[in-house]
Symmetry: C2
Subunit: 363 residues, 2 copies
DNA sequence: ACTTAGCACTTAGGATAGCTGAGTGCTAAA
DNA sequence: TTTAGCACTCAGCTATCCTAAGTGCTAAGT
């Protein structure tokens, strides 16, 4: 049975009406809508056909129809008109992205919060491809005889540091030797490339400073591990309660608990550029079988990609959400500027900086 | 009307029974309880008296009694028996605190999450007294002609850094001059002490490097600001839904939204050492008038204190919660070890470190 | 062959009434 | 002062009815 133009129109109208009202849609309501010049009886026939084809469902005999996940799918793929964001919306989003930002993790966390805030759905944010990160530079700074700071800069231009306290004294020359050794042997290696072999080589070169070097290397590995550990940041789970499908506390609680786990990162397939929609049973996780997920990804640079997304009932305003997410993702891409450097507000506040030095800065 | 021993016993029994079951407690249920050798009629009389005194309330004529906030108060102050944590509980908590920890903010965040996890209530964590933090040391590291890293160490031994990119070239001597200037003029100052006067002095001393210095100073101020900005970390709001008093979605959502704001820090009075309980209307915030808050604070060192706490219905297991919180706070105190240094797992994982250097380390 | 009007049929969910049982307050006796 | 007994109250459960929205089908119209 082919999908006539009218039936497509009807299906679209039903989906949009249902998205708005959350109530099963009857034939009369559709008939009254502009653009459709036929009676409710005609609509009824078409609705019956659409149901037979699997695009609609009927909660019970005497109720209207609601879209099935197949119905939502065709809506998203073919029927949906792309939403244009209003100027206010884009302005609000732009403003929020002007925030003072520092570490990669904080940016990602913040991105999740903003997405949730702008969509009124629970949101999550994560970064992928972190296994490629290496350390490109070490600096050791002497603090006093028994302590020093190690500063390590990663290939993503993130700089991390750590203060070390030692039980024995160290000297400046010792530290310099160590520094040189680190920079020659332990740069440009991914976490996977740190091996016992590497340590053997280092042991020979370092001699008596071996203990020291293993401390620092262990820190370096922590930095990489930290960077690799792609935690998922979730935010705004409470927004679930705003939607009628989660008036059931039990249901809401289940989903919230699921979202609170932190190993959901693997669940969402990489969406390339642009947005992706996973409707109900298209989700692999059992817990998400009757929810939808909308994803967008953006370029962080240095082989890494960020992913932002929202979770909600299948009855979701896909048009609006995809528009918002993709706008957000675009801006995040711009924010990262292709060079893996995190932009930051340049002007010092409180004291004024001379013009000629106001500049992009990173941490 | 004085509070006889029996009435105290009855009150305590009612509170504990209600805490457990969340249902109004009747005279018969109490009479059956061990330790009370009298009939339900006697209990009824006493209950009526306790109600008149304001310790109990009656939801409606033919129901049992529930404790009023005054009732909870006297329970917490005088009647409650202090809960002893089981070995499993303390072990679980100890284990969780062994986590690899880095920055102060992360520790605090993590503390909040753990508290929520162990109590099954929404929890929050924050740090107080951050206005006293100063920068004790600067190091500038040249990366190339147009960029350098600034490393700043605070009085709380937190080390922060930032990568600067400049539009013009700089030289090593320039950087060293700058470095010296920073360390003489801009150390030991709280954020409030950074002033335009200070900048004037610096301008004279720095000469042509003034632009540069203002960039770095602005970073230093950001660090202090960041440190001062005592964000409240909240976690586990979803746990509200587990309690019968929040089966009402509207109510749960309201409270969750309130907890999601980030300016609740000021709401909770400093509790000195030990724990503090705020019952229902004792809370200043309108939104918390029918919830209780349990707080514990711990020493971070350097004039800072951390606060952890949970929020929940007034019907809360105060004995258990205060026990858990105070145990947690004690351990956090120990963790910070009085010297404002964040301990961290000493053993590198993957590569073994020699014994003689395994040591406390901080960032 | 498609569309439409009419009509009988279905059913969720709201309103109403009645019932039950837990719990109370009061009285009077121990 | 305590206790037994008893009449009274009332939330909340159950059963029943009713309504309104929506359907599917049939038959007539285009």
């Amino acid at each position: 049975m082919e999908l006539t133009a009218r039936r497509r129109k009807i299906l679209r109208a039903i989906v949009e009406h249902y998205i708005e009202t959350a109530e099963p849609v009857g034939s009369k309501a559709i008939a009254k809508l502009a653009g459709l010049e036929c009676s409710s009886a005609t609509i009824r026939n078409d609705m019956a056909a659409l149901e037979k084809m699997g695009y609609l469902e009927q909660p019970h005999t005497s109720a209207g129809r609601i879209p099935s996940s197949k119905g939502y799918r065709i809506y998203v793929n073919e029927l949906m008109e792309h939403h244009k964001l209003s100027i206010q919306e884009t302005e609000r989003m732009n403003e929020s992205l002007q925030l003072k930002m520092r570490e990669l993790d904080r940016v990602i966390d913040q991105a999740g919060k903003l997405v949730s805030q702008f969509t009124n759905y629970p949101a999550f944010a994560l970064a992928e491809g972190r296994e490629q990160v290496t350390i490109v530079r070490y600096d050791l700074l002497m603090v006093n005889q028994t302590s020093f700071i190690c500063v390590a800069m990663t290939s993503t231009n993130v700089v991390k540091n750590k203060l070390f306290h030692l039980p024995t004294d160290i000297t400046e020359p010792q530290l310099q030797l160590l520094n040189a050794l680190l920079n020659t042997s332990f740069t440009g290696k991914t976490l996977a490339q740190f091996s016992t072999d590497l340590m053997e080589t280092a042991r020979k070169a370092a001699g008596s400073s071996y203990g020291l070097i293993s401390l620092v290397v262990s820190f370096a590995m922590d930095v990489l591990q930290d960077s690799e550990h792609s935690a998922v940041h979730t935010a705004g789970a409470r927004h679930l309660l705003e939607h009628p499908e989660y008036q059931d506390v039990e249901k809401a609680h289940k989903l919230m608990s699921y979202l609170a786990q932190d190993d959901l990162g693997s669940l969402f397939p990489d969406s390339g550029d642009g947005t992706r929609v996973l409707i109900g049973p298209e989700n692999v996780a059992e817990e998400l079988k009757d929810t939808s997920v909308v994803l967008a990804s953006y370029d962080i640079g240095e082989g890494m990609r960020g992913v932002i997304g929202v979770v909600g009932p299948t009855r979701m305003d896909y048009a609006k959400i995809t528009a918002k997410l993709s706008y957000m993702a675009d801006n995040l891409s711009k924010l990262f500027g292709g060079s893996a450097q995190l932009p930051e507000r340049a002007q010092p506040k409180g004291l004024k900086a001379p013009e000629e030095h106001s500049q992009k800065e990173e941490e």
